[in-house]
């Protein structure tokens, strides 16, 4: 199975960095998320997770390190987390780490809300974003 890598960029839209590693199971979504077609962007990530859970079936570590995302992205991130929860329910080992900018209560609260919505145990860590 192949890795999924998307290089983030900030142009007319803000594309987050995506690094999903099929060998190590360590995945990261970082940067800023405001996209032209949010559903399409995140559905590729969800498809990758589904393929991994069918073909690889090893532990998955998902690190979120976002400094900004719009409400449309927040809906899609919930779908990503639901896919991870599904894997966990099927017996997969899943670890979700949520890194939030230390001065951003809103992004920290998002993780709490995602935990309520998905039942996932999301570990939260503050970090100092680079500008």
């Amino acid at each position: 199975m192949e890795d999924l890598e998307i290089k983030g960029e900030s142009g007319v839209y803000f594309i987050p960095n995506v690094k999903l590693n099929a060998q190590t199971g360590i995945c990261e979504i970082s940067g800023e998320s405001y996209l032209e077609d949010t559903d399409e962007f995140y559905s590729n990530i969800i498809k990758w997770i589904e393929q991994y859970t069918q073909e690889v079936r090893k532990p998955l570590v998902f690190n979120f390190k976002l400094t900004y995302f719009n409400t449309s992205s927040s809906r899609s991130i919930l779908d990503v987390l639901r896919a991870l929860k599904k894997y966990e329910k099927e017996g997969g080992q899943v670890e979700v780490n949520w890194y939030y900018p230390e001065d951003d209560d809103g992004i920290a609260e998002e993780a709490e809300d995602y935990m309520k919505d998905t039942g996932l145990d999301i570990k939260m860590y503050p970090f100092e974003p680079e500008f």
Binding site: N70, P101, D104, G106, E109, D113, D117
Partner: protein, 193 residues
């Protein structure tokens, strides 16, 4: 939410406040990206409130971009709207104005009243409810979760004003204020020992 609201008078009054960005015209994604960079740059001195202003600006501006019913028929049929970011001593003020269908007015006012009746925890619950429940129709999408998110991020009530233009169209104004970060914990590093 009265019907006599005069947006243009309101707009003229803004001269008294320090306007950081003021635009009336066709809105495109390219333009929005330019504005967002401009706002970020201007708010570098107030990182914490600046992030909130940026985030609220993005939600409000994309709402205009997606849902304005006024269209400029010159060129690529862009949506038309007004976006203003101003500041007073204590707060940043974000204002958007755009045409909506008169039919949507009642629902928007109702959503706004619900939002303003809720505290932060209530707003988070409401947002989760909207996020978990499928969208009934495209039209209400922006009026739902986006407005709730704006109130959460701004940590403030939102102000909605609607002026009926005709049976079909009404002018919708959204005003959101964000407190500036008070420089209370900043140490004076230039002080000599």
């Amino acid at each position: 939410m009265n019907n006599d609201f005069d947006f243009f008078q309101y707009y003229a009054q803004l001269n008294h406040e320090q306007v950081m960005l003021s635009y009336k015209g066709p809105i495109t994604d390219v333009l929005l990206a330019e504005f967002s960079r401009d706002i970020r740059q201007k708010l570098q001195g107030d990182q914490k409130a600046g992030k909130k202003v940026f985030s609220v600006f993005m939600e409000m501006a994309t709402n205009v971009l997606y849902y304005s019913k006024e269209i400029n028929y010159f060129g690529s049929r862009d949506k038309v709207g007004t976006i203003v970011v101003a500041q007073t001593d204590k707060e940043y003020k974000l204002i958007t104005g755009n045409m909506i269908y008169t039919d949507s007015a009642a629902k928007l006012i109702e959503r706004c009243q619900i939002i303003n009746s809720l505290d932060r925890e209530g707003l988070r619950e409401y947002k989760r409810y909207l996020r978990n429940n499928p969208i009934e129709n495209e039209e209400s999408r922006g009026a739902g979760i986006g407005l709730v998110q704006v109130a959460i991020t701004a940590d403030n009530n939102i102000e909605v004003k609607i002026k009926k233009i005709s049976d079909t169209y009404s002018f919708f104004v959204l005003v959101v204020n964000i407190q500036k970060t008070l420089p209370n914990n900043t140490n004076d590093t230039t002080q000599n020992s």
